[in-house]
Amino acid sequence: MIVELGHFALILALCVALVQTLVPLWGAAIRDEGLMAVGDSAAKLQFLLVGFSFAVLTYAFVVSDFSLAVVVQNSHTLKPMLYKVTGTWGNHEGSLLLWVLILALFGACAAVFGGNLPTTLRARVLSVQGSIGVAFLLFMLLTSNPFLRLVVPPLNGEDLNPLLQDPGLAFHPPFLYLGYVGLSMSFSFAVAALIEGRVDAAWARWVRPWTLAAWVFLTIGIGLGSWWAYYELGWGGFWFWDPVENASFMPWLLAAALLHSAIVVEKRESLKAWTVLLAIMAFGFSLIGTFIVRSGVITSVHAFANDPERGVFILLILAVFTGGALTLFAFRAGALEAKGLFAVVSRETALVGNNILLAVAALVIFVGTIWPLVAELAFGRKLSVGQPFFDAAFAPFMLALGIILPIGAMLPWKRADVGRVLRALIPAAVLAFSLGALAYAMQTGRTALGPVGLMLGAWVFFGALTDLWARTGKGALAGRLARLGRLPRADLGKVVAHGGFGITIFAVSAMLAWKIEDIRVVQTGESFPLGSYTVQLVAVHKVQGPNYTSTMAEMAVTRDGAPVATLFPEKRFYPVQGMPTTEAAIDYGFLRDIYLVIGDPQDGGGWAVRSYVEPFANWLWAGCLLMALGGTLSLSDRRFRVAAGAPRAQGVPAE
């Protein structure tokens, strides 16, 4: 019964979303306050209905209701409770419901916190947001209904893929969706602004927090996914340029571009049309990502469902929303008149450079991702585009971005003197160069990637610190430190996020350049060298887990005779799915991770063992976290909080 209620709530949510789409739009057109206000209630109601529906599905997973097809396919009574709950979104139908839930959540947030928006703009934003809801609710109800019952329920389920039974992956989708779907708010604001024919500083101030929030969630989601790949897949890789990863990375790059260009609109009333276009593209790429993950047209290891019917439906959604928005843009972009002028050398120009680099980097990844499809359809060639291409094609953009970032971040608005900024940055440049040279001198016979990465990362990082220092003004140290504490949060956020970006650049290059790998057969009791460490296979045990059996090795790591760590890498077997997994054992360290994996017993006795020293691995996750933290700091800036509560002139008529 409760399942039918959930199903019913979902259908009702579709009806409410339809109302939310049509009524406020009509109300805004004829300036009817009453009709426009319908949008607020509809957005809140839609969220409650979808939320109820989601709670029902979670409940079905928790009590293992095997009359539901989706529960049978993805759950099992013996599965730990955590994964029963997270299993709700560990499948196509459930994850789509989560998608729609977050979409409705953002709509409801706009209704609740949007009190200071001009009424027509708010009505139109909610209407556009509602229309996205209509599309996805229809998609779910017509092609991927999570509430389908089975006529004959089986006694037990087929279990969730053991690889997904992991905390890192369990919470990675919600963050990713918060990011993907968060960009729908920027999209709704962009389309609403096009309908209004008006983009100004206030608009940018409203759109920026949503974009910033979406970007922070995407950063965390991508970081979590990468961390999961690192410790779970068992060979220490952290990024594979897989189509599904690219699907999340393209919106991240575009969101990063968008939140920079929105600053220009907010502070200088320039780049308006471009910012609106970016907002449309960022959400468009979220939809493309959804299409790639769920249609199966592009081969990927971790695609969800390979169903052409669903693929066509998403393609239709993509065409209607992106196509529609771009058409509207073509007609109305002319109305978005720029006010602020700027000289060639100015922060505006630097941000234009940032936008070109980020947007083209995203497009290059897009071209690489769909090229196999294009080549097959257009030229009849079956080919592949993988890591070597993406590394070569993407790295130059990050190199250029890293070089201009510290300079651009310190340039004044409007008209700037590069010489002054460069002089301020001399210490950072010298420090970065010396670190790079030191690394080059210390390493022998390896790629230049490590030293160059260190130099670039240090340049960005110390550049961010220089920026912070310069913001504290001049004079005595005490006065500067006092001013440091009073800086706006947005300034701190900028420095933290840029610093995090520098650390990420360094960590990525260090991990790629300085990783040590060792593969060998080891007898029980035998020792072998790994870099400056010695690893001994002490013993191998058989262990029984809650829903798996495990072969667990005990390995002692020492350095110059002193114990460093004892690690227990495992090989697990999940009987329900008949699937083995490897659980690497990692000794996390500040400068390096020691990463051990146990393999199969060998014919001649002994065990296959893979071991790695992963330099600066933790710096990568720390860099991602710092970027997310920087975004959050910026989000908590006074001007967003104050703007949210302050009374403001209402109902600015469209020109």
């Binding site: 890591q387 057969v521 699937m579």
Partner: protein, 152 residues
Amino acid sequence: MKRLVLCVLLLATPAFAVQPDEILPDPTLESRARAISGDIRCPVCQGESIDDSNAPISRDLRIIIRERLVAGDSDAAVVDFLVARYGEFILFNPPARGANLILWFAGPAMVLAGAGLAAITLRRRRQGVEAALSSDEEARLATLMQDHAPRP
């Protein structure tokens, strides 16, 4: 779909892609072999290189690569040998030839186009604004100029 299931199964134990018994005693040859196999796509597990894949065919390919290298082939000859048998599909690094030039030059072309477009737009806007006095303003300016014209 079946292929996908198979790959997920194989993905589960990727730790033992390269088995200890495959490794060549000569470290130079071995590192060349690793470099080649890192760029070859597994024909079964299409998301992985044969260096990471556990599929039996990947193991066979890794062994073939090592045999060719021991026999004295150059890296390019080994790759050609594989492409001749499995097609262009197995190359993760698409060669910059023919239509693939579009792929390789897409990035630089887009940057140039973007920078050019931005430069033109910004220049036009600046010039546009400098000349952008409305007719009212022109008239007002003219009267002002007349009022303040140096009197003889």
